[in-house]
C-alpha cells in the first residue's frame, strides 16, 4: 500500500497555526478559526470524498495521521477536524447511491464545508445514541424536525448538521434515521454554553435545533446500520488518533524536561527518566492498538459483512476505552515527570491543558456506558483466542 505523505505535509501549516493559537482558544473557549481556515486553505476538508465527486478518496489511515498531528498542537482543532471527518465517513459509506447526498458530497469538497453532529439529546437520552425522543415529521415532500440537542460541537460555525431522530412520530425510540440538514434549513436556539474543563475550543453548546428540509435528505438506511458500519468505528479510531497526538506531545514535553535535567548533571540519571520510559511504553501500546484498529477496520470494510458483526463492535468499543484510559495515564505520568513545571501554566513543560483536554476522553460517550454495552454482548460473544488474525 502506498502511503500518502503529502496529506501530512499539507497539514503542517495548519498544525503550526493551531499551535500558535491553542492557548488563546483554550483560555477564551473560542472556536479555532485560524487553524480551521488553514485546513480549508490546504483543501483538507473534503479529502475523504471520492475522487469522482471532487475529493481525494483518502483512506482512514491518512486522515488519522492528520488528526494525530493536529492533536499534538491543539486538541480542539484536532477534535473539530476529527468530528467533521467522522460525519464525512457516513456520507461516503451511506450516501454513495443517493442522488442528493452525492451532490452534497461534491459541495463539501468544492466549498470545503464543515459538518457537525447532533446525536446527543436532552430529556434523559444523553449519549445513548441508539435511541431518540425527537422524530421526523413528514409533510409531503418535506419534513420537520425539532431536537433538543444538548451538545452540538461548533454548532454555530458548521455549514450542515447530521442529525439523528426517530423515523416517524409513531416509531419506537430505537427505530432511528439520520438526516443531513443545511445551515439555511435550520435554526439553532442556544440552551447551554460550553464552559468546560477542557476541549474548550470545540464550542459544544446546547441548542434546540429546528429544521425543515426535503425528505431526500434523510439517509435511506436505518441509523443503526450507519452507526455500526461507519460512525462508531471511524469515531473511535479518529478520536484515538487525536488522543494519541495529545499523549505524544505530553511525553515529548516530559522527555525534554528529563533531557534538560540530565544535561545539567551528567552521570546522574534524572529521577523522572524511568517514568518517561514508562510513559513511552504506554504511548507505544496506544499507537499499536490504533494501528491495529485501522487494519481491522480496513479488513472489515473489504469483507463487508464483518462491519455488522459483534466481534468488530466489541473491538472498536475496546479501542475507545483503552486509548482514552491510556491517554489520561500518560498525561498523569508526564505531569509527575515535569513536576511543578508541568503544573504551571506558562512553562515549555506545561501540561495543564493536556490534562484538562484528556479528561474528556473517558467521558465522551462515557466509558461506563460503553462497558455496559460490551458486557451485554460478551454474554453471547466468545472472544477470539488466537494471537494472530
Amino acid at each position: 500500500m502506498t502511503r500518502n505523505t503529502s496529506l501530512l505535509d499539507r497539514a503542517a501549516e495548519a498544525a503550526s497555526v493551531a499551535s500558535r493559537y491553542c492557548d488563546e482558544v483554550d483560555r477564551d473557549s473560542r472556536f479555532p478559526t485560524e487553524s480551521m481556515q488553514a485546513l480549508k486553505d490546504a483543501r483538507l476538508m473534503g479529502i475523504m470524498i471520492p475522487r469522482e465527486l471532487g475529493g481525494e478518496s483518502a483512506n482512514l489511515r491518512d486522515i488519522a495521521d492528520v488528526c494525530a498531528l493536529l492533536g499534538q498542537n491543539c486538541s480542539s482543532t484536532a477534535m473539530v477536524y476529527a468530528m467533521h471527518q467522522i460525519k464525512a465517513s457516513s456520507l461516503v459509506s451511506h450516501g454513495a447511491d443517493d442522488a442528493w447526498h452525492r451532490a452534497f458530497m461534491a459541495c463539501v469538497a468544492s466549498e470545503q464545508l464543515l459538518l457537525g453532529s447532533a446525536t446527543t439529546e436532552g430529556g434523559g437520552i444523553g449519549g445513548d445514541l441508539g435511541v431518540s425522543n425527537c422524530a421526523i415529521e413528514r409533510d409531503g415532500e418535506e419534513f420537520n424536525l425539532r431536537k433538543d440537542a444538548s451538545v452540538i460541537s461548533y454548532g454555530k460555525q458548521c455549514d450542515a448538521i447530521l442529525v439523528t431522530a426517530r423515523r416517524a412520530p409513531d416509531a419506537p425510540p430505537s427505530d432511528q434515521v439520520m438526516a443531513t440538514v443545511l445551515k439555511s434549513q435550520y435554526t439553532l436556539e442556544q440552551t447551554s454554553t460550553w464552559n468546560t474543563l477542557g476541549m474548550r475550543g470545540t464550542c459544544s453548546d446546547g441548542f434546540i435545533l429546528n429544521a425543515r428540509a426535503p425528505v431526500e435528505q434523510i439517509f435511506p438506511q436505518p441509523f443503526a446500520e450507519i452507526a455500526a458500519r461507519s460512525m462508531l468505528a471511524t469515531a473511535h479510531l479518529l478520536w484515538g488518533a487525536l488522543w494519541y497526538g495529545i499523549a505524544a506531545n505530553a511525553v515529548a514535553r516530559a522527555q525534554a524536561y528529563v533531557r534538560a535535567d540530565a544535561r545539567k548533571k551528567p552521570g546522574v540519571t534524572p529521577i523522572g527518566a524511568v517514568r518517561v520510559a514508562e510513559a513511552a511504553n504506554m504511548l507505544q501500546l496506544m499507537r499499536s492498538s490504533i494501528n491495529a484498529g485501522i487494519d481491522k477496520f480496513e479488513r472489515a470494510q473489504r469483507a463487508n459483512e464483518e462491519l455488522n458483526s459483534m466481534s468488530f463492535a466489541i473491538d472498536m468499543c475496546n479501542l475507545k476505552i483503552g486509548t482514552s484510559r491510556l491517554l489520561t495515564d500518560i498525561v498523569n505520568q508526564s505531569m509527575m515527570v515535569c513536576g511543578i513545571y508541568g503544573y504551571k501554566n506558562d512553562t515549555p513543560f506545561s501540561l495543564g491543558r493536556h490534562m484538562r483536554d484528556a479528561m474528556s476522553a473517558p467521558l465522551m460517550i462515557n466509558n461506563d456506558r460503553i462497558f455496559g454495552n460490551t458486557s451485554n454482548m460478551l454474554l453471547v460473544h466468545r472472544l477470539d483466542q488466537r494471537l494472530v488474525g
Binding site: P172, D175, E305, S309, M310, N376, M377, V380, H381
Partner: protein, 83 residues
C-alpha cells in the same frame, strides 16, 4: 418453532407492540428491538433450543425478523428446529 420464537420474543424483546401483531417477515428493529434486547433474546433462544449461536450469526441480520431467527436455528440445529 416460530411459536417458541414468538414466546421468547414476547418475554425478552421489550417491544412496544404485541408480538402477535407482527408478521413473520416483519423488521424487528423497526418494531423496536434494541441491540440490548436482541442479546437477551439470543440467550433465551440458546437456552430453549439448547444451541449456541456461532460467531458468524452474531450480527444484526440474524435477528432482523422471526423468519431470519428461524433460518439461523434451522441451520445450527436442524433436528430441534422441526420440533
Amino acid at each position: 418453532m416460530n411459536g417458541t420464537i414468538r414466546n421468547l420474543l414476547e418475554q425478552h424483546g421489550r417491544l412496544p407492540v404485541t408480538v402477535s401483531s407482527l408478521a413473520d417477515d416483519q423488521d424487528l428493529y423497526a418494531a423496536g428491538l434494541t441491540s440490548f434486547a436482541a442479546v437477551q433474546l439470543m440467550l433465551g433462544l440458546e437456552e430453549a433450543f439448547d444451541v449456541e449461536f456461532p460467531e458468524r450469526m452474531l450480527n444484526r441480520k440474524s435477528f432482523a425478523s422471526i423468519n431470519a431467527i428461524a433460518a439461523c436455528l434451522s441451520e445450527i440445529a436442524p433436528q430441534k428446529a422441526v420440533a
